[in-house]
Symmetry: D2
Subunit: 481 residues, 4 copies
Amino acid sequence: MTVSAPTKLWDKGYELDPRIEKFEIGDDTVYDNRLILPDVLGSIAHAAGLAKVGLLDGDVFWKLHGGLAQIADLAEDGEFSIEPGDEDVHTKIENWLTQQLGEAGKRIHTGRSRNDQVLVDLRLYTREAVLPVYGAVLEACDALLQMATEYRMLPMPGYTHMQRAMLSSVGVWAGAYLEALLDDLDLLDAAVKLNDQNPLGSAASYGVALPLDRQYVSDLLGFGKVQNNVLYAQNARGKFEVAIVQALTQVALGFSKLAQDIMLFTTSEYNFFSIDDSLLTGSSIMPQKRNLGAVELLRAKGQVMLSYQQQMLGVLIGLPAGYNMDFQETKRPFMEALDLIENSAAVVALTVSRLVPNENKMAEACSPELFATDAAYDLVLQGVPFRDAYKQVALSLDTLENIDPEAHLVKHTHQGTSGDLRLGVSSDKIAHRKEVLAKRAAELDAIKTGLLTGSAAGLPLPSPGPTNGSLPQPAGDASDR
Amino acid sequence: MTVSAPTKLWDKGYELDPRIEKFEIGDDTVYDNRLILPDVLGSIAHAAGLAKVGLLDGDVFWKLHGGLAQIADLAEDGEFSIEPGDEDVHTKIENWLTQQLGEAGKRIHTGRSRNDQVLVDLRLYTREAVLPVYGAVLEACDALLQMATEYRMLPMPGYTHMQRAMLSSVGVWAGAYLEALLDDLDLLDAAVKLNDQNPLGSAASYGVALPLDRQYVSDLLGFGKVQNNVLYAQNARGKFEVAIVQALTQVALGFSKLAQDIMLFTTSEYNFFSIDDSLLTGSSIMPQKRNLGAVELLRAKGQVMLSYQQQMLGVLIGLPAGYNMDFQETKRPFMEALDLIENSAAVVALTVSRLVPNENKMAEACSPELFATDAAYDLVLQGVPFRDAYKQVALSLDTLENIDPEAHLVKHTHQGTSGDLRLGVSSDKIAHRKEVLAKRAAELDAIKTGLLTGSAAGLPLPSPGPTNGSLPQPAGDASDR
Amino acid sequence: MTVSAPTKLWDKGYELDPRIEKFEIGDDTVYDNRLILPDVLGSIAHAAGLAKVGLLDGDVFWKLHGGLAQIADLAEDGEFSIEPGDEDVHTKIENWLTQQLGEAGKRIHTGRSRNDQVLVDLRLYTREAVLPVYGAVLEACDALLQMATEYRMLPMPGYTHMQRAMLSSVGVWAGAYLEALLDDLDLLDAAVKLNDQNPLGSAASYGVALPLDRQYVSDLLGFGKVQNNVLYAQNARGKFEVAIVQALTQVALGFSKLAQDIMLFTTSEYNFFSIDDSLLTGSSIMPQKRNLGAVELLRAKGQVMLSYQQQMLGVLIGLPAGYNMDFQETKRPFMEALDLIENSAAVVALTVSRLVPNENKMAEACSPELFATDAAYDLVLQGVPFRDAYKQVALSLDTLENIDPEAHLVKHTHQGTSGDLRLGVSSDKIAHRKEVLAKRAAELDAIKTGLLTGSAAGLPLPSPGPTNGSLPQPAGDASDR
Amino acid sequence: MTVSAPTKLWDKGYELDPRIEKFEIGDDTVYDNRLILPDVLGSIAHAAGLAKVGLLDGDVFWKLHGGLAQIADLAEDGEFSIEPGDEDVHTKIENWLTQQLGEAGKRIHTGRSRNDQVLVDLRLYTREAVLPVYGAVLEACDALLQMATEYRMLPMPGYTHMQRAMLSSVGVWAGAYLEALLDDLDLLDAAVKLNDQNPLGSAASYGVALPLDRQYVSDLLGFGKVQNNVLYAQNARGKFEVAIVQALTQVALGFSKLAQDIMLFTTSEYNFFSIDDSLLTGSSIMPQKRNLGAVELLRAKGQVMLSYQQQMLGVLIGLPAGYNMDFQETKRPFMEALDLIENSAAVVALTVSRLVPNENKMAEACSPELFATDAAYDLVLQGVPFRDAYKQVALSLDTLENIDPEAHLVKHTHQGTSGDLRLGVSSDKIAHRKEVLAKRAAELDAIKTGLLTGSAAGLPLPSPGPTNGSLPQPAGDASDR
């Protein structure tokens, strides 16, 4: 559908220089398309809140509700979108409402600003957008768990300083990445919880002199709580998002390390893993090349995450309080960071599930020096102090003999080694997280459906008809003006 | 006391090029001094663990315990320290034990590596070092709370885009910073919890083929749990520390914003706050200058935090699994980041407590345009749709009249504005956090005292005398070798 | 025009997993569209080089030339572009040539790899893309020069530590930014010169065992020199680009500082400059708001530049030698950085040209304390040692009298102050740079035209007909194989 | 020698809160010790400039000269240093002069501020401190040149995507790093040239109303030119330093890449190089370990450089014009960045000179797939189009035969490959740079000696005795005051 040329909400009869306008909007509108549904939901709740305190008639509310629900439908069908030339999602929606509904559209912005509107949009967007991120990371966990389980006792040299160190197993290697990811999700939980605060009602940054019921609006939207101080709500723009990006950067750390390991272990020189053709790209010049392009990119994407985090923090730091236009530059890196981790996690899951250990190659690499420490421990068990045993072995390294790694691996019995890897703990955590995730997805769906269909259970939307409550008296009547 | 020239633990009869040695150690030893007590505590627990599983005689354990406790005493008196020329804290301590106790010293390193030793040192250091950080941030919270309480209803212009926007109050302004800090501490909690895992037993990165009892050692040290996978323990070096730095970067965001606000509001042009002489520095050339040097630095330190975070993440990302020497470069920025936030928080507390609002200046700055939105709301309350009201006011801005800000402020009644600022919630949070903090400090003191005096309650240290358990059989007996 | 589904150049009969393919390509193809013309030019020169050494018949060369020139035309008309689903610009072009020209297309990739192809594309792109950047920065210089000239003697308070310091002038203020930009361009020159090296012939990273004439190809493309070592050519991917970004970051430093100053000086509290409505945006809630959104973004874009620089350096650092897929992640930030500075410079030019000083406001702000140092100098001129004079004034600040700033400004006579601002030097530099820029643009146009029309002056392209030179003998004949 | 407790230059009878003072100074004084000699030289020139324009008697000048020369001597003997508790180097020196010389000391600060004083100190420091950096990088170049020369034709597999790609040589590998460093020094030249501007006379940021002769002072100090605009001089604080750090970051890129290659090529799996024991460190647990700790740190230090660059740029960006205290946070990362590169270059030189290729291991790694492209070229030379030849070979990779790499390497004849590596060009550049470096060192020594001994050739220092020029009239006489 066509929407006629948008008017700016703040139109005062002068024209913005088009070069300035282009500079300000940039490609921001691309990212605003992700905020259409959040903006609709936030607008329904805001309008309901206005009606609840008597600032909007019930009839007007339901008219707006109909229009907003229609926008959600149109957007789902690809028929409502933010295009270059549009100022932003908020303007587009208000203008559409006014064009379609007349005066009702002109009433919806009472008691709010685009500043708190974009905040609530981002919070609603975020709480949805993190779900597939959790999901993808859990898929990666599953792949790592499966690998660790299958190859728990498959001997593999362990490296420190990139030099052969001591005997390890494929299970220990895969399990290390698995446990890191599960810990990372705990950090992500804390950031996601921070995000679960309703900023609506903070308006431009300082609230309004109208008797808004912020708790009601917050409950309608299913937020954990109202973000209390109105200025804090605005100061939190970008801050909450970057808290999530910081947690995701921890995930990226693990992915990047895993990528570096895979790159190393799939060289001709190591050759510890065979890798499926479906993961490999070729060269335009060299007929023999089988490159792990995606794994290289996985490594590089870690750095990209660092630059997203840097950009967001850099933009925010040192800004004075209240809304600043600079905030806009935190939107793209935030959304791209979520995408990046979701996509990277999928690549990790796929890659790990298609890595096949070359047992012989690993066994060959379990050369005698890997067991030098064990030789020292043999002496220790005969009563030699460790430091003496160490030196004795160090000076006779050439006498170290070949050891069968499989036979030796069974001696790794203490917690956290292949003999006691406790993969069940991780498995339980994954299962529990999947349940929580499904439940949360259902919750959010119910909230969306409730708002869009007007049947929010427990929290009735305003009744049609004129408001029952009395409109607040015009402030203009106050004697002090 | 003098300790003779240290030998390297890995001495094999060749000399490291002194230029290489200097490059490797750099100023790292400076920071190792903070790890002396943690290293002592970790060593006591490790030795107890060895004794528990029969790898150390009870007598030897108590000998080592005596030496280690003595090092703790010497260090407290400034008589044991890591100096340029020493390799690191671990080497210094092992060498000292061997020099003082003979063979017992040579036994302590059984079943561990400096890799897991430095990990446990850092975890123990961190759990102590965050306490004064929490404390200092809570002091800053107190100062902000007091300011917000005292000036909750003192009118102040609110700014967006650095332009006058709507009426606000000093209470709202101070309260915004307060609530941000309290949220930040929730993020810090998650990172601190992550840190609360015992890495001992992971050895070089792959555990050892000895029957260590990692849970016992973990309990002795009072860790929340064992960090299970041994390779993950090593991969977590720097990772856990940077998780804490990421949370502290959120604190720095707030401090930097506050500093920018204070710089702005104390210019001659704003003049919203008088500031105590004790916070001001002068110029060498201009007799009149009264500069807020510390506040400027507070602003700059935010960027310093970003670079610490960047350095740590940059060093870590893309490293292959297992211990890598690169980790060393995460130590200094981590320790300095903790110091930076502790010191910055103290400056915030001091500065906020000495800022005195210039009521008249703020009132003067509450010029009519600050109430333009309210003029539109007056029309709204008379039934005019908001967007029309907005335009009507926008086109007649010159008719806006002076408003008494104090009288108007009372209309800011909804949650999060000056009329409903809910400072009690923050006050309760501060009080609760102080309690938790004091309790945690006591807990940690008890653990330290227990380990140093050998009276760990509940978890008895090994008995003197030869071990009761039978020593594990030498692995050299195994038929497969 | 429609090109049928592209085949991968390295097709070996297996399918890349589509999720991997999507991850690898991402939005990279968007940026590849900027490389179509460079790829055409590089391909013409490469083919000519092949013909020169007898690896291609003259007829085949001219057939390829015709096809490549046609691609250039189609691309100009928007009828040849890289779309999602295409692997990259190189593949698209080779496939098109093969489809249109048959066997000739299959010959063009002899002796090259996409690795050196993308390098030469980026170098050619860069040398063109920097021209409008220089141009836009010079426009900003012009605007600053005009402001500095017009208001050279207009008194303005000078600030240090954001506090009033000493008398300055609008001319000094604008001139400071002007001189910084001109210095920045010197740094940019060095980076641009670095970029002026022909990488073709480095192939995958190690050259080829064919007798390429790299100098001839370099001359055809008008490069300053051949980038000699083939592996260095590949290691320079991203490195040369980030050298340019580093220089542009210096420009961004200046823009960001200027933006911060403008934000400050256009607050109601300072009110030093009036700003044209065409630069201002409004609020959706506050009818009175006049926000300098573009200037705020200018400030934020400085941080965005830092993150581009960080991303590029982060991706590059620590990579092993030779081509790595990670390089791809340097392309987008590089291209966006060039755009960002070009657009920012245009906004600076526009904004500066529309700033109008409020002389009265600045004069009012020239309060007595601004002249405290001068009071000390009066004493100095009477023989009092400066430090004593300083203290004397410091202790009697309240006796400082009002000074007429205009009358005082004439005493600022030494070099670099308003009385001796030497704007002519900057003016001459701008003029000289504009000449150099125009000349360079003409040079590059001539090279492009020469290559596309086949009339490269001085450096004849190969003659039609079979090659005159004898083809090198097949290496297969060599006795050692 | 003992200097009594310093007084602050701006002392006005109130006390700075000691916590604020500590926060402001931090460890900044440590770095100020490097600025003692620069401060002395700048002060001599400044005082001479004052005398030249009649603001100082010749006798007073020579008294100050004597005191300053004495400070230089004392500092050289370690008897004058900046200690914790001192405010800064400038204060310490002025106070010392006043204590030793009485009134003369109180006159030296006429017409300057610590703001331009620290600027000139840093510029003088920088121009000296870059010399050993150049020197150390040239030593690294020498080592790489020697390796490239000795092993120019030693076959080595070339890698892309960390997979075996095509035949290369040790000479190509070492030469690639060599050429990169030489290019980096060109970038460094541009930044060093930028630094060569005299900022003295810019005072606090806005010059002074005294007739300073900035050109004379600039010439005395041997600067390339006066930095003209006084505000630009101040805005350049940190900016010029970070320009140098940006160039050095390019050097760090190369070092980090080299380190990664060495780490890879010295694994047991590659084993391409033997490495001298003097470069290796051991493990505390594993008797066999031979770790390249310094090379790992070289890799990590690249990231440290990025964080220094980030810190400096982050602190600077967005600051308003004029001196801001934030600048202080650029000093430490700048000085440490210079040290880091100097030390890293020394480690590179040492390490490269002690790497010994394992010829057999490299030859073994030259497996048949390395020659797949050459097999395709054989077909090309028989007339098969390259793309067809490529596919033909790709589908019959198992028929590739063993090739003797040495025999094949001679076919790498085009520019930039082992057959035409043009090391002479690099060798000439190194030689030329060493000459330039020695000349520059001599120049700077002559300037220093001239200033300290009072015998500046060509540019006579002021004569003893009262000034010949007439003192400027007190500004107090002006009718407008």
